[in-house]
Amino acid sequence: MDDTNDTSFVVDEVSNVIKESIEATIGSQSYQQARINTWTSNIVEAILNSLTKLNKPFKYIVSCVIMQKNGAGLHTASSCFWDNTTDGSCTVRWENKSMYAIVSVFGLSI
């Protein structure tokens, strides 16, 4: 009998961690050039700290992009060479009136 939740990448769980970190950092803010670096750093650090507390045997990569809403587009693609049975990723797209945030988390089992 094994509990696969203890050692697998659970997308919903990670997605919640991401959303909470974004909301807590920039939820009520408008785009501000002077604060943007702090925000992106705070978001990735908060997410990584929360993921570490899940105590799963994973290495994590967290990536955050914040973009001002000015009308231009952003195109991204990613490719992963990993173990399909154990590894996973989660990308959350978030926006408010003045900016977009795109946060990706990749979890690779050890």
């Binding site: 997410i47 990584l48 290495k59 967290v62 490719s79 050890i110």
Partner: protein, 116 residues
Amino acid sequence: MSIDHFDITKTTDIIRKIIEEILNTNQYRLEHIDKWTRQIVDSCQRSLFEIQNSFKTIITAMIIPKTNENIHMSNACLWDFAVDGSTIIQWENDSMYCVVSAFALSLSITTQLTIT
């Protein structure tokens, strides 16, 4: 038994060449953008596998048109600093920016995970 270390210089060179080949002097074009980002990550993945296949690798590519946009990107990793590695390449021509990030995580059993 020695563990392969991530070769940042070689990886950076390979990725830069791939971006050059695919984007070159092309203008930012909505109908080609998806294809280009896909081609970049797929080529990078294949090329990196040929030089160091004892790593799990994550490649992400972003293409942004040159308008007055402000874009900021941050990455953080929980990994084994001794054997894992990453590189971020920024490239531009006169109509667009391209940012490619490559992360390589060793398949060897590691000891200490640290946040970077």
